[in-house]
Subunit: 308 residues, 2 copies
């Protein structure tokens, strides 16, 4: 059983999609990552912060999934990070209506000592300076450091982001972000420019169009499972990252071949996430459903062809 | 060796992309379809029309690929169908600048008698009434009738299109067109509505995001090969259709398993088409290159995963 350090927001989300709207519900990158990773045989810890307004039931929920929350700091008198967003009709784009950083503004991450030698570090979307602080607290170079980020940091903290990227192994971003970061339209060329920034692996998330895994020699592609209903895309990218990092931490094998499987596991779990609002589907997900859908992934993509 | 009837435009295209522009060059759906199909062991015939301005060298080119052009009518004093378009920077959208139907306006398709019992009919993008006329000329129900169409006919000849669709087996359209035709955003639901219109199989082309093959029970997905350079998308969808129909005609096997292979062959050939303007890359394409890229397709998509 490998150890996994998860950094990212633990948040209140308020979501509107064409299919309905929520009140403030449980959200945040670290939340989705940890719930997905909890499907694998892994010791994981969340490094994050919330306010005193964060309900005990949410803390209990994470604890009951065997997620270490000893360094999920609860700031007295503080308020939890809050995001409110509205998705457009095609669900491929959204408007952020409210972002309140609250306790996240002064967050000093602390890696629990039991996890300072963890095999895998999953840096969920956060300020790149916070992500780097976590890397610096690791007493042993992890087998794999994975970083998720977004265009917001490219616009507002590019120098910090470029510094942090130097120290990681895998970056996960979406196709538009890969293009923004590199100025290259071709994703093949974009990946090549990103290797020169530090990462040895590039994962490009394309939402409903699947995900690409690149290293200098190989490319692997996993589609998103075509679904009857996509209800709420919130957290799908984080769920992908959680499945990816959780599987790699559980297996301890960071070869390209095993990363391919990790991409499939991540895509598989993300396909559940979007079927309900927020974390609802991820909280109540059993191994049988997961396995059934892995079979569907195989049927969707595998073929026999005569090659010379 | 199976027989394949190919219907569609044979045209002059004038193309501008971010990478350059052309004069009037060889284009048209039937041209791209037949060039792709010519990579397989198939007897194929083009049913189409051009004007007296159509160069003999283009006719010779098609003949030299063993394509029967006895019913590629050359109208004395007539002009060949002409399309001029300009692609936007991301190559995913384009503006049509000029469309001159010319001889196509009064086109009466004639299926060569040698082909009236052909196993496969590939109805390239054309007025659905012309497509239906070809179906009606087949003396024996073909094993497979494949129809490609576009939003233009949904906007301008929907009743004709719905009538023609009743008589076909496979429809190939892009994702936006599937949504337009059915009013369903989910492609899974869209495919289901299309079965009720007639086709047993639905192929949804997503350009750089790959292609989906549906029947009532199964879904298969083939990605587009990530490329260093996409130069000109013109004809990629037709090349896909040509590879798909050509492979099925050559093998004579219209099972879902074999259609999966046909989708891979179609995607593989389309990946070459976009690397140069117009038909340039398709005209000079050898089996070795094709086979090498099939290996890449396999590496891109195939994985081993433990399933319970």
């Amino acid at each position: 059983m490998g150890k996994l350090v998860i950094v990212g927001t633990v948040a209140f989300d308020e979501i509107e999609t064409p299919f309905g709207k929520t009140d403030k519900i449980l959200g945040g990158a670290a939340t989705f990552i940890s719930l997905a990773a909890s499907q694998f045989d892994v010791d994981s810890a969340i490094v994050s912060v919330v306010g005193e307004d964060f309900p005990q039931q949410y803390l209990d929920l994470l604890k009951n999934k065997n997620i270490d929350i000893s360094q999920l700091q609860v700031i007295k008198g503080g308020k939890t990070f809050y995001w409110k967003g509205k998705y457009h009709n095609d669900l491929n784009s959204r408007d952020t209506l409210v972002t309140e950083l609250n306790t996240l503004a002064d967050f000093n991450p602390v890696v629990p000592s039991y996890y300072s030698g963890a095999e895998v570090v999953m840096l969920g979307n956060l300020h790149p300076g916070v992500q780097l602080s976590v890397i610096n607290q690791m007493t042993k170079r992890p087998k794999l450091i994975i970083l998720d980020t977004m265009n917001f940091w490219m616009d507002n903290a590019l120098d910090d982001l470029l510094e942090t990227i130097k120290h990681i192994d895998v970056i996960t971003i979406n196709d538009e972000e890969a293009r923004q970061l590199t100025g290259e339209y071709s994703l093949v060329k974009a990946a090549r420019k990103i290797y020169d920034m530090g990462p040895k692996y590039v994962v490009i998330k394309k939402g409903e169009h699947g995900a690409l895994l690149f290293n200098r020699e190989q490319i692997f592609f996993a589609p998103a499972l075509p679904l009857e209903e996509v209800f709420d895309p919130t957290g799908a990218g984080d769920t992908f990252a959680g499945g990816f990092s959780g599987y790699l931490a559980a297996t301890g094998d960071v070869s390209f071949e095993n990363m391919k499987k990790a991409v499939i596991h991540g895509s598989n779990l993300a396909s559940f996430c979007v079927e309900r609002f927020g974390t609802e589907r991820m909280i109540n997900l059993d191994k049988k459903e997961i396995n059934k859908r892995l079979h569907q992934f195989k049927a969707l993509t595998q073929f026999e062809i005569e090659l010379n």
